[in-house]
């Protein structure tokens, strides 16, 4: 290469405006390794992002008897917890989570809520300020050891410390705790109690029935781990949960006409189901579409009566981090067996429980959506390892192992808008998806919300796109994040900041991590590398407790890509993507052939003269000039045209050609076009450059340049591209893959960009947006009615 270029020189033909600015040292180290930001690798969590050889985690098994009092809306419970201390430290006390205390009259949630009076204070707001009448929170009857002896305990709001008479031994210690409690179940629709509406009851005034969804309903062990010690940050309502894994046996006593939906597998179906229901349930195991086990008619009938006796449903669930259930006489129940490649259970039961108010939407879609989620997520992570996956309609959106509470009720006439339909599907995908993150890949939600929400939202997007090609996905596509990331840095918080007091509308709120992962998958890493690494992360940390560094490290370890620049930019800063294509300058090779070069030069000289105003005006106004009138004033230079080709020129050219090798001659005569593109980074985030070159003949070609092009200078970068054809236009990020917030500086030559407002007005705004748009279902019905 060295030889070729020594013989050639370049002739500059500048077509664009301006010349690249001189570069200054602007290295902000965007490609520096995430060394100090991440915890030091150790024998619990390795540098490659895998659990280390000394990785440990605790375990808590539960044996619980619980009863729901349908007349008083109360829950009574007794549990025996077997807590295993596998840590290398002896423990002299343990912490137990008491999340119901968030609705205790003395709860900090009420105390720390801010409010002001105004002329427009609504009745609701007034009640929120004054009403502490609900007697919520755990009433602890006793805390005892295995022998029945009382253990000292201290309750700090939503956390309880149980002090042990002798410390629990390291590595082998086993503690048995017996706890008895009850609490008043909260009304989920009472805005005063909205701090934790994840569980509670919903009252249906029309039929006078209650629908219970019980969550955080038992005192549960807190996590003790290697990087946190005890995770006992108070439950304030927003930051969610993390818990140790264990085996559960739960006996649920409810009115005899209730149907229970629960984590785990029902152990005594013959005792609680009718013969008919048993038959249908058996049939559903091998069915290819959902089988109704309790129909809408049957449920509606039950709504009218009240059983006076009780039944106990016994469930077992192994290796779960939590337990939730729903119960109501209103439940319709359908089920379908699902086969998942490589799963430990040959048939996984996908089931849905919902009141009639959720039909026809739930009847048509819920169980199918559950099955679909299991298949898609299993493909991208690991085969679903549980025997059951349930979707319960409860006007909610919350996840537990093997069961989740969702929303999506149609209008009373059974129709629904597309908003409700896709909202319902999305919430089912999302909540069932949470089985994977964080129920199995058990990250700490209170500390790192994005680790489960971000990863789950990303997988949800994959599930949506595999359900329907034009699914209106909320987060995922890079362009959906643009309006938010456009906002100035000063009003945002990075994903990796953690504090309950900073209003984090960022992370899970607008799906920034989900979008970041999609960009990694589609644009930075490509699907093959990404999918493998993502699966590797999920498999390494299934049934364990990962931290952000384990995720970052695994993704690099398994793909061979250095992604620190990506994590740093997307997760640790509030920079956005705004890369500007500042200039495109064309360079043409000087062929050295006098026939070609002198002709071009001659044409240029003539063009200059033709444009010169004085010369043109003089041609018109002056019939003759001095040298034309008097031949004696002429000499050699009056007729000499430096652009004439002379024999000496030709001779020189022949000699020059002879001095070149064949490769050099080829380049010289190739007629290639050289374009230098100058980019500047205005948003802060460095990203790959995706370029579409559109040629004068209408054809186009795309090129992708990895982000490492910015490694020496992350403010400005230039690159030369060589083509056989002449360029007409260059577009940066033509497919909107990089979440670039300003498309206005992405094309060269620049195109005038209309604002959204101007566009709306131009397209006849009022006409377009003015009237109500048709809900296709009702319109279709109207049409049918006409015909």
């Amino acid at each position: 290469m060295r030889i070729i270029y020594s013989g050639l020189t370049l002739l500059l033909l500048i077509t664009g405006a301006g010349i690249a600015k001189a570069q200054s040292n602007t290295d902000q180290g965007k490609f520096r390794q995430l060394g100090v930001e991440l915890p030091t690798p150790n024998t619990y969590r390795t540098a490659s992002g895998a659990p280390g050889e000394h990785y440990w985690q605790q375990r808590a098994d539960y044996d619980i008897k619980v009863e729901i009092d349908d007349s008083k809306q109360r829950l009574y419970g007794k549990e025996t917890i077997t807590y295993h201390n596998y840590s290398p430290h002896p423990l002299s006390y343990v912490w137990v989570q008491l999340d119901q205390n968030i609705v205790h009259p003395e709860s900090d949630t009420y105390k720390t809520a801010t409010n002001k009076m105004s002329e427009r204070t609504t009745v609701t707001q007034l009640s929120m300020m004054t009403d502490t009448s609900f007697d919520g929170g755990f009433k602890i009857d006793y805390v005892r050891d295995m022998a029945g002896k009382a253990l000292p305990y201290v309750i700090n709001k939503t956390m309880m410390r149980v002090d042990l008479p002798t410390p629990l031994a390291a590595k082998t210690g086993k503690l048995t705790l017996q706890i008895g409690w009850w609490y008043n179940i909260n009304d989920r629709q009472n805005p005063v109690l909205s701090a934790d509406s994840r569980g509670g009851y919903e009252f249906f005034p029309e039929d006078g029935n209650y629908l219970y969804t019980l969550a955080q309903w038992f005192p549960r062990m807190a996590v003790y781990d290697d990087y946190n010690g005890w995770q006992h940050k108070q439950f304030l309502g927003r930051g969610e949960f993390t818990l140790p894994f264990g085996n559960y046996t739960v006996a649920i006593t409810v009115p005899a006409d209730h149907v229970v939906a629960s984590t785990g597998v029902l152990q005594n179906p013959k005792e609680v189901l009718t013969t008919e229901q048993l038959q249908r349930f058996e049939a559903s195991k091998t069915a290819t579409k959902p089988v109704v086990i309790v129909s809408q008619d049957e449920a509606t009938q039950k709504e009218k009566t009240r059983a006076t006796t009780k039944k106990t449903w016994v469930y077992k669930a192994d290796n779960v981090r939590d337990f939730a259930f729903g119960t109501s006489r209103k439940y319709i129940w359908d089920a379908m067996g699902v086969k998942i490649d490589g799963a430990p259970f040959s048939t996984v039961m996908a089931m849905s429980y919902y009141p009639k108010e959720a039909n026809p939407l739930y009847g048509q879609y819920s169980t199918e959506a559950v099955a679909h989620t299991l298949q898609v997520y299993s493909k991208h992570t690991f085969p679903y390892p549980y025997p059951v996956a349930i979707s319960v309609e409860a006007s909610n959106g919350m996840e537990y192992p093997m069961i989740c509470f969702n929303y999506g009720r149609p209008e009373k006439d059974g129709t629904y808008s597309d908003r409700i339909k896709y909202g319902m599907l999305s919430v089912v995908f999302h909540e069932v998806g949470h089985n994977f993150f964080p129920m199995i890949v058990n990250s700490d939600e209170r500390q790192w919300t994005w680790m489960d929400e971000g990863l789950n939202s990303f997988c949800q997007f994959l599930a949506e796109q595999e359900w329907q090609r034009d699914y209106p996905s909320g987060s995922g596509p890079a362009r959906t994040i643009v309006p938010y990331m456009k906002a100035d840095k000063s009003v945002q918080n990075p994903i990796m900041t953690n504090s309950e007091s900073i209003i984090q509308f960022g992370n899970n709120a607008y799906g920034k991590p989900a979008t970041a992962l999609n960009i990694l998958r589609e644009t930075v890493m490509g699907r093959q590398l990404f999918d493998f690494a993502f699966r590797e992360y999920a498999r390494r940390w299934a049934f364990k407790h990962p931290t952000p560094s384990d995720f970052f490290r695994t993704m690099e370890d398994a793909s061979g890509m250095d992604l620190d620049w990506f994590w740093r930019g997307w997760f640790y800063t509030t920079d956005n993507v705004d890369i500007s294509l500042d200039n495109v300058a064309e360079f043409r090779l000087d062929t050295k052939n006098p026939e070609v070069e002198k002709t071009i030069a001659g044409q240029k000289a003539k063009e200059l003269m033709d444009r010169d105003v004085t010369i043109q005006n003089n041609k018109r106004d002056l019939p003759t000039v001095a040298v034309e009138r008097n031949p004696a004033l002429n000499d050699f230079y009056n007729t000499y045209d430096p652009n004439d080709v002379t024999p000496a020129d030709v001779q020189r050219y022949k000699q020059y050609l002879a001095s070149l090798g064949p490769k050099e001659q080829e380049i010289l005569s190739s007629g290639k076009h050289f374009y230098q593109l100058d980019f500047s980074n205005k948003g802060g985030l460095v990203m790959p450059l995706i370029l579409r070159f559109v040629f004068e003949d209408g054809s186009s070609t795309d090129r992708r340049i990895p982000a490492e092009i910015w490694r020496y200078n992350d403010k400005e970068v230039s690159k030369v591209f060589v083509f056989d054809k002449a360029l007409a236009e260059v577009i940066l990020d033509p497919n909107e893959e990089t979440a670039d917030v300003d498309a206005g500086n992405n094309t060269f030559p620049r195109k005038t960009q209309l604002s959204r407002f101007e566009l709306f007005k131009m397209e006849g705004g009022m006409r377009r947006g003015g009237g109500p748009s048709e809900n296709p279902m009702q319109q279709a019905r109207k049409e049918e009615g006409k015909n």
Partner: protein, 165 residues
């Protein structure tokens, strides 16, 4: 004003409901008007307008973006906006005109114009959209006016600000 790419946002309200609204403010020298675009979740806007009506004794259901959309929907939306989003340009109060609305995946885009306003040297903004019902409502305002860009994040307890150009 930079071209705004079309943004889709599904109503993905899991138990971390997204209480966020975005407002873009631009100024058109040609029209001598402030051009404002609000992007709000349909459910949130409906809730607030219906609640406000309830507290003055009326029962309204808006049914936005369905065939049953309330015939006075535009007026009701405009009334809500003019109460909860106000601007003063160079000390002069602006009055907004409802230009139109569009729906996209659970969000409503509302176009408002504040006509007959000079080029802003100083802009007072009051933004308390949706704050009555949601303590954690965040209202992002992205400005691209008089050559200056910037953002503000209004929320409960911080609903007014002034920008000087």
């Amino acid at each position: 004003m930079a071209f705004l790419t079309v943004a889709l946002l599904a109503v993905c309200t899991v138990v971390h409901p997204i209480h966020l609204a975005i407002t873009e403010i631009g100024y058109s020298d040609k029209e001598k008007a402030l051009q404002v675009v609000h992007k709000i979740f349909v459910d949130d806007l409906e809730l607030h307008i219906e609640q406000k009506a309830k507290s003055s004794g009326q029962e309204i259901r808006l049914h936005l973006n369905t065939p049953k959309e309330h015939p006075m929907a535009d007026a009701l939306i405009q009334a809500y906006l003019s109460e909860h989003f106000q601007v003063k340009v160079n000390g002069k109060s602006g009055n907004s005109i409802f230009v139109g609305k569009e729906y996209e995946n659970g969000a409503i885009w509302i176009y408002s114009e504040f006509p007959n306003l000079p080029r802003p040297r100083q802009l007072h903004i009051q933004d308390d959209l949706l704050v009555e019902m949601y303590d954690d409502q965040n209202n992002l305002v992205n400005l691209d006016v008089a050559g200056k860009t910037g953002s503000l994040r209004f929320r409960k307890g911080y609903t007014r600000d002034v920008i000087t150009f």
